[in-house]
Amino acid sequence: LLDSHRLYQGAFLLPDVAIERADVHLDTFIHRKVTQLTMPKAKTATEPAKVEVPEEDLRKYELMVLIDPDNSSVEYQKHLDEVKKLIESHAGKIWHEEDWGKRELAYTIKKKDYGYYAIFNFNAPGEAIQEIGAQLRITSYVLRHLLVKVPDNYEPQQYELDEVEEEAKPEPKARPVRKAAPKKAAPAAKKAEPKKEEKAEKEADSSEKKAKLDKKLDELLSGDDDDLNL
């Protein structure tokens, strides 16, 4: 039995502690060995996932949260902090935040027509995303959330939201009529006055210019003649 133990030990390069216990019964020995080998492995699997994650394993994600409007703005800030903490507790690193504030929803959700929108851009390991999503699904104040993977060179963009567009759409039809009349009349009057003055000035200028031009021409002509003669 001992020989077989030692062969076994040699093959697997067991630590000295294990060699000292070689006289223990084979079954118990193997049982201890197995526990020794498996326990540290389990620890290494769980610990670094929360503390240290190499940057290569991180990916860019974007989280949009739609928060219940019934709460006051103070509570809303608390909720945002909670969402932030949730991301950071799962080894996520937030690098951009956006707060759209209160917005009208395109359709009612849970009998609510308005909601607070907030966007978080963060880097996180892939395994964390499922857990974050599951947590957000449980939280009561989050009406909806959207977790998307974003390309590596993505940079947050600013867009015109539809509220601005919807207000602008009906107005242009009415605007041209209103604006056209006063605008055309007012500038026309303004333009007419300076034009007359300008014309007078221009005439004066033109007479002066003509004289100058004549002189110049004469000079040039004489000069040209000289040049040609040369």
Partner: protein
């Protein structure tokens, strides 16, 4: 919409430097949604297939977040 003619404009649909169509780009997404809120098919939009699929994804994401309506 004029998007049917200028094919060069399709590159501008994506987020600059990427091939990703942002679900937050509502002015763009609204172009590719009919008055009833349905996604316009490709035989109306003439958008390349890849981009049409990304557009659809973006519109669906926006709908989920109540930025666009499912039905008007």
């Amino acid at each position: 919409m004029s998007h049917k003619k200028d094919r060069k404009a399709y590159g501008d649909m994506c987020v600059p430097g990427t091939t990703y169509i942002d679900y937050k780009n509502l002015p763009l997404l609204r172009k590719y949604v009919s008055i009833h809120g349905r996604i316009k098919p490709r035989y109306y939009t003439n958008v390349p297939l890849v981009l049409q699929k990304r557009l659809a994804r973006g519109i669906k994401n926006a709908r989920h977040m109540a930025l666009l309506p499912f039905v008007k």
